[in-house]
């Protein structure tokens, strides 16, 4: 490792612009003649649209156009797609209801867009949007997944009887049933995973500019994957042909999954910029973000874990209902299936597993992947079960886990995944040492003396990242491949531009990707520029989600560097009359090993471009591209330990210690990795203690639609974290990287809840564990104890 290469804790190259106010986010962009869009949205969770009267709005000051779903349909703009086909266990395809970008006949959730006003200023657009008169005919609504499945529930899409999207299964039901029937002990839990709102700090925005002279569109948008956006906007929505559409995702202020999807507002702004003949910008206000950004989680699960007389896990049976909201979002169908049920083996050897998943429509905002996407839900099920089982069996939660760990790799689980590498004992040991697990009893007694209830909880998570080989995901129903591309352009002076299909929206790619180049080609970080987020510059890419930018995106860069290196060595060997195999590239020089012969890196690069003296038949230039298709998922894993103190008088929980021990494979920049863990853990603590989307069950109104009503963690809600890593390299990519973006949000919720339930002696507690809920659970437990 050099001072700037792989493993170096270098400050981020991108920071300067952010700390000086020079970041360029979508809402910071403006073009001449730009007008603003305001959407008319449904105030009802479920209602027929009997008519839309735009006459008054059209006459208001500054208004350029008022456009409705009918016009969008007439212009042939396609409905929003779901990109992953899931078949029910009876072989039938999922029941996908039509999802127009502007509702035409029916609105199915509060906030669904039905019309748009384009006006000269934001205020004018909003005022005119308020003047659009929609003749609503309210229909009965249903907000929760179990209520939507019940007999007599309001029906949301004609082609989805009983609101059922699919009824899917994985694993061996008979084997799991047999294991439970023959078990020495069965632990059974009813578990809900609370619905969350992603709340990237930058609200979604879009700026669309149609150039009639060129018949060309430019879209600046808050996207994690601008190429996927361009593909979907052109191929499926027919807004513009792909070669006539440039999508730019400039600086993006957080995503967490919510900026993967192509939303109605992006489609409508593009379409409206041509229709109205003006550039159109829309920026969500925070309540629009609450109402329209795809939400996360929202599962109801019953799970049973069976043990033999030696406390070995012998079977697992899981039944889950997943609330999809009113429409199927882009990757929604994959989340509770291939990103959830396939992780239900956890870190354990469990011979028989079965999981059934029913996906359900409700009159709520669509739900899709959110930091972790299915894996937090799986981890929460597994780690609540194991911790509960340990209490029921009267054994140490740590040792029950250890006794059931997968110890040999590769390990084929009964639910598709083949774990390629790991050392679960190592992360458990590291976390226990970090938390002084052995000293907990003393701390508990000390807390008791202060009138506080102290509890400890752990979670051993495993996740699947990077995403699998394209052929494999294709066979499972994915509509896209999940490779990544890169291009390494070496300039005649030796500086380097790397074009990547990954997208950074906080992850620090401009630094970590440059560190890889510095390591391999021996140049300084300042000589490397990372280019991303613009379909006119980068040829194609699949974008950033699923902790894939290191494992997949950097692997593509590594492959392209291989090619650059090979060509540079050929040129150098030719120039220095040496054998190609003897050429070394390091520290800005290209040397002949074992001699004092050398050239500057820049001299070799210049030779590639002057082309005065290249090997016979070699093309000039030094620029190479590569596509990398992953050979397998990667499997980050780790152990989190949380210690809490509960105030029995108020039910308030203080997290007094949080230890994370992660195995992310090879680490490029430890500082950035720690930052990712910190952020993920805070989001997980948010889910465990504070955040919970609340819909009124009768009206389907989102009650928690502002920061007044939906608490997000603040600096004083969390402690300083003890974060460390152990390392087993991923054998399936050239860099050994596993990925670190989601782990914190996956492992922390069960660790926190296990700690609180330990403290209060009552396992009947749902997230978010607010002070009120904890106080009630504590009271119930006191009543139960008194009764005994």
């Amino acid at each position: 490792m050099g001072v700037e290469g792989i493993g170096a804790r270098v400050p981020r190259k991108e920071d300067k612009r952010f700390i000086t106010g020079k970041g360029r986010y979508t809402d910071d962009m403006s073009v001449a003649g730009m007008c603003k869009a305001a959407f008319v949205r449904s105030p009802h969770a479920h209602a027929k649209i009997a008519g839309i009267d735009t006459a008054a709005a059209e006459k208001m000051p500054g208004v350029i156009a008022v456009l409705t779903g009918g016009q969008l349909k007439e212009d042939g703009i396609g409905d929003i797609i779901c990109g992953w086909m899931i078949h029910s266990k009876d072989g039938s395809p999922m029941n996908m209801g039509a999802n127009p970008a502007l509702a035409v006949d029916t609105a199915r959730h509060v906030g669904q867009a039905v019309a748009v006003v384009i006006a000269e200023t934001q205020a004018q657009a909003r005022e005119a949007a308020d003047a659009v008169n929609v003749n609503w005919q309210e229909l009965p609504a249903v907000a929760s997944a179990d209520a939507a499945l019940a007999a007599g529930a309001p029906q949301i899409h004609e082609n989805a009887p009983n609101n059922l999207i699919y009824d899917w299964e994985i694993g061996d039901a008979a084997a799991a049933d047999a294991a439970i029937a023959g078990a020495a002990h069965v632990t059974k839990l009813e578990i809900s995973n609370n619905r969350l709102v992603p709340n990237a700090m930058e609200p979604r925005a879009a700026l669309a500019d149609y150039n009639a002279a060129e018949d060309h569109y430019t879209l600046w948008t808050t996207s994690q994957n601008p190429h996927v956006a361009r593909l979907v906007l052109s191929a499926f929505y027919q807004v513009a042909p792909e070669h006539k559409l440039r999508v730019i995702a400039p600086d993006v202020g957080g995503g967490f999954g919510s900026k993967i999807y192509i939303y109605p507002e992006e489609i409508v702004c593009l379409w409206a910029s041509k229709k109205a003949g003006v550039p159109v910008k829309w920026t969500a206000d925070r309540t629009e973000a609450f109402l329209t950004d795809a939400h996360g989680r929202d599962h109801i699960t019953t799970a049973e874990m069976a043990f033999d007389a030696n406390n070995k896990m012998i079977g697992l049976k899981v039944d889950t209902i997943a609330n999809f909201g009113a429409y199927m979002s882009l990757f929604s169908s994959a989340v509770p299936t291939y990103l959830y049920a396939t992780l239900l083996s956890g870190q354990y050897v469990i011979p028989a597993i079965h999981c059934n998943v029913r996906a359900v429509y409700t009159n709520t905002t669509p739900v899709d992947a959110y930091r972790g996407a299915g894996r937090p839900e799986a981890c929460y099920v597994m780690e609540r079960l194991v911790e509960t089982a340990a209490r029921e069996l009267g054994v140490s939660p740590a040792e029950l886990r250890r006794a059931n760990f997968v110890g040999e790799f590769p390990y084929q689980t009964p639910v598709i995944m083949a774990y390629d590498a790991g050392d679960f004992d190592a992360s458990l040991n590291a976390a226990m040492a970090g938390a002084d697990y052995a000293g907990f009893a003393g701390r508990k007694a000390e807390a008791e003396a202060r009138g506080k209830l102290r509890g400890i909880g752990m979670a051993c998570y495993i996740e699947a990242c990077g995403i699998a080989p394209s052929q494999a995901v294709g066979s499972l129903g994915a509509g896209v491949g999940l490779w990544e591309s890169a291009e390494v352009r070496v300039n005649p002076v030796g500086t380097i531009e790397v074009l990547t299909g990954s997208h950074s929206h906080g992850q620090g790619h401009e630094t970590t990707f440059a560190q890889l180049v510095a390591e391999r080609l021996g140049v300084g970080l300042d000589s490397v520029q990372i280019v991303h987020g613009d379909t006119d510059k980068v040829q194609f890419g699949m974008g950033t989600y699923g902790s894939r930018s290191g494992a997949v995106g950097m692997s593509a860069i590594s492959k392209a560097i291989d090619k650059v290196e090979a060509k540079a060595k050929k040129i150098a060997a030719h120039l220095m009359e040496a054998a190609e195999g003897d050429i070394e590239i390091a520290d800005g020089e290209v040397r002949v090993a074992g001699t004092d012969k050398k050239l500057g890196w820049h001299e070799v690069c210049l030779a590639a471009y002057t082309a005065h003296n290249l090997p016979e038949g070699m093309e000039p230039g030094l620029k190479e591209g590569a596509f990398y298709d992953p050979a397998n998922f990667t499997f980050p894993a780790g152990c989190y330990i949380c210690e809490v103190e509960v105030d029995p008088g108020t039910g308030h929980t203080d997290i007094v210690q949080f230890v994370a021990a992660d195995d992310f494979g090879r680490i490029i920049n430890p500082m950035i990795v720690e930052g990712q863990v910190h952020g993920g853990v805070v989001q997980g603590i948010g889910q465990a203690l504070l955040e919970g989307c609340q819909y009124d069950p009768e009206t389907g109104q989102l009650v928690t639609a502002t920061y007044n009503d939906y608490p997000m963690p603040r600096a004083d809600d969390v402690p300083s974290f003890d974060v460390s890593t152990t390392e087993t390299l991923c054998p399936n990519n050239p860099l050994g990287i596993k990925g670190c973006g989601e782990a914190g949000a996956i492992g922390s919720p069960p660790a926190v809840i296990n700690a609180i339930t330990d403290a209060i002696g009552n396992n009947d507690l749902t997230m978010p564990a607010t002070a009120e809920k904890v106080w009630r659970a504590l009271s119930a437990s006191a009543v139960a104890q008194a009764a005994e």
């Binding site: 400050p11 925070r286 952020g679």
Partner: protein, 140 residues
């Protein structure tokens, strides 16, 4: 309409704006100072914090007309030329930001906090004082 004149980052500016123009809109749209951000509608996220006559204020809940005659410092005006303010430098050195969206507000709030406490701050106070700033990353 209102005529407003103020000093922004040391430069005198004068504009005629709609009465309802918020200070953050004035900074971003009239003056092109897009480093100050809007992250919510309820004065809670703190991405819009600027200094008005040396005090940290949320510019999303301040009318431009209210600060007629005031001296405003935004994130763009914090550094002394090419020399970063020590708080800016510290955010970089200690990886206090990720996506950068909340960062300008965090930095402006932090500078004000340090000045108010005369440089005497402990971790608990800092965490409590950041009550008015939201972040989804860490520091971001």
């Amino acid at each position: 309409m209102a005529n407003v004149s103020m000093t922004v980052n040391g430069r005198a500016v004068e504009r005629t704006v709609e009465d309802r123009t918020l200070l953050v809109q004035f900074l971003r749209e009239d003056l092109g100072l897009t480093g100050t951000h809007v992250g919510c509608d309820t004065s809670q996220c703190g991405a819009c914090v600027v200094h008005i006559d040396g005090k940290a204020v949320k510019s999303c809940t301040t009318l431009a007309a209210q600060v007629d005659g005031a001296s405003i410092t935004t994130i763009e005006g914090l550094a002394n030329g090419v020399d970063l303010h020590p708080v800016q430098a510290a955010f970089k050195e200690h990886h206090g930001l990720q996506c950068g969206f909340c960062t300008p507000g965090m930095i402006m709030a932090a500078v004000d906090m340090i000045e108010r406490h005369g440089g005497k701050l402990d971790e608990k106070t800092v965490r409590e004082e950041l009550e008015g700033n939201r972040e989804r990353h860490h520091g971001c």
